[in-house]
């Protein structure tokens, strides 16, 4: 019993939870910024830059705008962080000790939605016109990119006849896996709010988006939860769509390789594309994302 509690505490705080994923998340953020800079012909920030940004924000005073509900203002970043951390705990990446339980993929999907809801609420709570426009855009984008995202997961669950991540992880690699992976990947840039789907935090249009009135430690927590969200999405991709190898070391190596490949892919897309409008993004996700989703579901039903 104590061993189990100890295992859970380790999983929440160290790996794959808060500290381990934070380190990995900051590493991915640095890769994204550095690669983006190099592709633009610049030198880019030094290695520990996301960490220094985080610590600096912690040291600033917190300013709550007048008329904003302070309880909600303070709570939202922590809710987003908590949901992301618990999402990380239930995904069985290499080095993970917590057992899988039936229905945990559903829990994961719900936990993945909480940071989005927190961002939307942060935009409305801010009492700022920029925040409200960003919140509206984020909610609309949720309607768009969830089509391929959910369809990919459902197709995989249908093929494995189970909603248990452990079963999905050890399911054999097939046509469905490939199609579902493509559908999932199509949704990832929008989830990460990176070009061409950086519509909710369009700097030139709506200043800083939903976080326009956020500052200091609260902004730092939001940035941290964004970094953890990146890790969580890549973890989910690895667990669901990449075949599980027998050797622990090989599995771990494959995990890092796949994650690095994903961040490079997302950054490449961000550096070479321009932001789309909400209407264009919608059309893209309902047409092409819908096609990918339909193909994955069809393969799952037929196969």
């Amino acid at each position: 019993m104590m061993v189990e509690i100890g295992q859970y505490v380790f999983a929440v705080l160290l790996w794959p939870g808060l500290l381990g994923a934070a380190a990995l998340g900051f590493f991915y953020l640095w890769i994204a910024r550095k690669l983006n800079a190099r592709l633009q012909g610049r030198r880019g920030p030094p290695f520990f830059q996301p960490f220094f940004d985080f610590v600096k924000l912690l040291g600033k005073e917190t300013v709550v705008p007048r008329g904003v509900n302070p309880a909600l203002f303070y709570a939202l970043p922590f809710i987003a962080l908590t949901a992301t951390v618990f999402g990380l705990v239930i995904v069985p990446v290499p080095g993970h000790a917590v057992a899988s339980f039936p229905g945990d993929i559903i829990l994961l999907l719900y936990l993945l939605e909480v940071p989005v809801i927190c961002d939307v609420m942060a935009g409305y709570v801010s009492q700022s016109i920029y925040g409200q426009v960003s919140a509206m855009r984020e909610a609309l984008m949720g309607l768009a990119y969830n089509v391929p995202l959910l369809a990919a997961v459902i197709a995989m669950a249908q093929t494995a006849h189970s909603f248990r991540i452990g079963t999905l992880q050890s399911a054999p690699f097939g046509v469905v896996t490939g199609l579902a992976a493509i559908a999932f990947l199509v949704a990832v840039p929008a989830r990460l709010k990176s070009n061409p789907f950086s519509i909710p935090n369009a700097e030139q249009e709506i200043v800083a988006g939903a976080h326009v009135e956020y500052n200091s430690a609260l902004l730092a927590i939001f940035e941290l939860s964004h970094a953890l969200e990146v890790v969580l999405l890549f973890d989910a991709f690895f667990v669901l769509f990449v075949p599980h190898l027998d050797s622990v070391l090989a599995n771990a190596a494959l995990y890092f390789l796949i994650s690095l490949g994903l961040i490079v892919l997302v950054t490449l897309a961000a550096a070479t594309t321009a932001r789309l409008t909400v209407k264009q993004a919608f059309r893209f996700y309902w047409v092409w994302g819908g096609l990918a989703a339909g193909a994955a579901m069809a393969a799952a039903v037929i196969g």
């Binding site: 920030p45 300013v63 700097e203 956020y214």
Partner: protein, 155 residues
Amino acid sequence: MNIFAKLLAVSRRKSPWIYTVNSGSCNGCDIEIGPCVSPRYDGEQIGMLRQGSPKHADILLVTGAMTKRARHAVLEIYAQMPSPKAVVAIGSCPASGNVFAGSPTVDGPLDTFIPVDVWVSGCPPRPQVIIAGVAQAAQLLAEGRTADQQRRAKP
């Protein structure tokens, strides 16, 4: 200093997030601030990011002589920045008004309104000199020597 204070000081020096405001400039200095994020001079090397919201920024870059029309905006923006904060006056207009000094629409030098930590002289100053000014302000933030930090430290 203990380890956390030292880490915080290093982080403040390495992460200068700027917000620019034009208080009546001819735009020459604003045009020179633009290349600070271009590939040639790349302020991101020192962690400099240009933020859209004053609440996200540490360092305020002010260009232009303080015109009557912009006075309220500049004071508002300065008040909305969370501490610790630094102010960098770009060019000679904030220092004296340059050719606009004595004009009925110009209020006066910047330091009669908000405390200024670094003066970057030039008309306009070159982008790399502006980055040097931002780096100097970041160093002041790390050492706790900005006017805002000294005012707060006084009992």
